[in-house]
Amino acid sequence: MAIVEHLYPLTGAVLVGLGLYGFLTLRHPLRQLLAVNVVGAGIFLILGGLGRGADSTDPFPQALVITGIVVAVALTAFGAALILRVAEDERAPDGTAADDTNGNHP
């Protein structure tokens, strides 16, 4: 029973660990973004699991998780767009991109 009781948090912790590992080792921004999403999923799992009571489910953590997921989706979308723009810029032949106009580390 003990394991089942802690199944959600434990799985969440594993996901956080995996995501973190990925984030540390992966170099491509898109992969990093995905790794971060894995971490996020882990955290939501932990949070969501908390509300799961024996008789009734506490809606409060669920609400938090839903809000969190909305935020995470928005951010992921934004990040993906950003990555896309960077990739476009890198592909641009003339280098007129707005990137690094103020090159701080020339």
């Binding site: 955290i43 949070l47 409060f60």
Partner: protein
């Protein structure tokens, strides 16, 4: 109705309005400024610590917004900064000739209001999860603004900020699992020194340190802040990092002062000291102006953390607390002024480097004066607010016998003088007057006003001290501090 939720809601409303108005979005600012000013004044007039629960839900379910001293001060300072930076940006972010300019002109204004609203939420909320949302709003706006300068730097910023947010969120989750609430005021009552709480606190703090760009987690800041357009840089350096800092304050001094061991405070203090020294040394090394100013932010944030052990050890709502909050305010104003001035100067000479400023003091005396006045406050020289803050911190450090902290405060000021006088020296160099093309020269008034405010707040020291002392948790009660030891 309460100004508390309006302060968050109004900017968001303006955001939507700006988003919908397209090319004319920027003119909403003229409506936003009086509205926000009114709300801010209202906030300042509220009695200390008066709270407002959003939507009528009671705690622990509801989300509480509360006007304590630090919130009042930070919201007010943010309003001033945002208003002035916004006015400055009216020219810069207008529909322009080419596509990217126009795109920036469209994009900036919604982001601006998002940032403003997010920051206000971050300063006013006592709900940890809501703070997460605020943090993300601000980060999103900040990254997008940074992206206007350098996509690459913005991406790096984004990824790292995301990690920080998640670390914070993890902590929130842990706390909720432990206490079944995420409201600070409630947590403060039931805080227990157990494993989960400590883990949560450690993880959240680490995450917030990223947001506040504390050494050695500041790596994202200089490229992003240096690359962004001047008004964006000003907002980023002035406001965004402060949100992380204020949440940190709430965690350490409001929610968990009872379980915090001195060693933890010491650790933060050390990080702050290192940040001051490291940021200053890096700033001295820079040869581009905005990078220099950005590193200066790293150094200045260090002071805020340096103050942590001082605040905790201080006897009451004494000088250290006031010093820390005044420093945050002063830095907000001065750094915004400095970035705006830097932007004007660099635009005028069409360069990035310090040497491009050659002789500019004669061509643009007012802009250079604004830069200089802001520098005075950042260096902590009298009679500026920066001096007041540093003086109060120094006094606290000396009273507590914290020799190292005192030394860092003084040396940090000196190093600041070294890097800040570098650009000034260039501006004063030579005897000829360079020919510069300054578009919309009236904009000089913006940095000048901010810098003058930063300096002249030094005369209103007691008023600021009084405001910040209004926090119900400004400085832990003496008994609790003793318990820890």
């Amino acid at each position: 109705m309460s100004p508390l939720d309006l302060l968050v809601a109004a900017p968001l409303a303006f955001m939507i309005a700006a988003l919908l108005s397209g090319p004319w979005g920027r003119w909403w600012l003229l409506a936003a400024i009086p509205v926000m000013a009114g709300l801010t004044v209202w906030l300042l007039l509220l009695p200390e610590g008066s709270g407002h629960v959003v939507g009528g839900w009671t705690l622990p379910l509801g989300v509480q917004l509360r006007a304590d001293g630090v919130a009042q001060l930070m919201v007010a300072a943010t309003a001033v900064c945002a208003a002035i930076v916004g006015l400055y940006a009216l020219h810069e972010f207008a529909p322009g000739a080419d596509r990217s300019e126009t795109a920036h002109g469209f994009a900036f204004w919604p982001l601006f209001y998002l940032l403003w609203g997010g920051a206000n939420a971050g300063f006013l909320t006592t709900d940890l999860f809501n703070l997460y949302i605020a943090l993300e709003m601000v980060s999103l706006a900040a990254v997008a603004m940074a992206a206007m300068g350098s996509l690459r730097a913005a991406l790096r910023y984004f990824v790292i900020a995301l990690v920080g947010s998640l670390a914070y969120l993890l902590g929130v989750a842990l706390l909720f699992s432990n206490y079944a609430t995420v409201d600070l005021t409630l947590l403060a009552e039931m805080a227990r020194p157990d494993l989960a709480t400590k883990t949560a606190l450690a993880v959240m703090t680490a995450g917030l340190l990223i947001k506040a760009a504390v050494f050695p987690l500041h790596g994202w800041l200089p490229p992003a802040h240096a690359a962004a357009p001047a008004p964006a840089s000003a907002l980023l350096s002035a406001i965004v990092v402060k949100v992380g800092f204020v949440i940190l304050l709430r965690l350490w001094f409001e929610a968990f002062p009872a379980i915090i061991a001195p060693a933890g405070l010491e650790l933060l203090g050390w990080l702050g000291a290192l940040a001051v020294l490291y940021g200053s040394v890096q700033a001295i090394r820079q040869d581009t102006l905005k990078a220099l100013v950005a590193y200066s932010t790293v150094a200045q944030i260090g002071y805020l953390l340096l103050a942590f052990p001082l605040v905790a050890t201080a006897a009451g709502t004494g000088g250290a607390w006031a010093g820390m909050t005044i420093h945050a305010t002063a830095h907000m104003l001065a750094k915004a002024a400095m970035f705006l001035a830097a932007g004007l100067m660099l635009k005028a000479v069409n360069g990035h480097h310090l040497k491009d400023l050659h002789g500019l003091a004669r061509a643009m005396p007012l802009t250079v004066a604004a830069f200089g006045l802001a520098a005075v406050s950042l260096m902590g020289l009298p009679p500026s607010a920066g001096f007041l803050a540093k003086f109060l911190l120094l006094e606290a450090a000396v009273e507590q016998g914290a020799v190292f902290a005192a030394a860092v405060l003084l040396v940090g000021g000196l190093l600041a003088a070294v890097y800040l006088f570098k650009p000034l020296a260039w501006a004063f160099a030579g005897s000829d007057t360079p020919v510069v093309v300054a578009k919309a020269p009236l904009r000089t008034a913006a940095p000048l006003a901010l810098a003058l405010l930063a300096v002249s707040l030094g005369f209103a020291g007691q008023a600021m001290v009084d405001i910040t002392a209004g926090s119900p948790w400004a400085g832990p009660p003496a008994t609790e501090a003793e318990d820890v030891q």
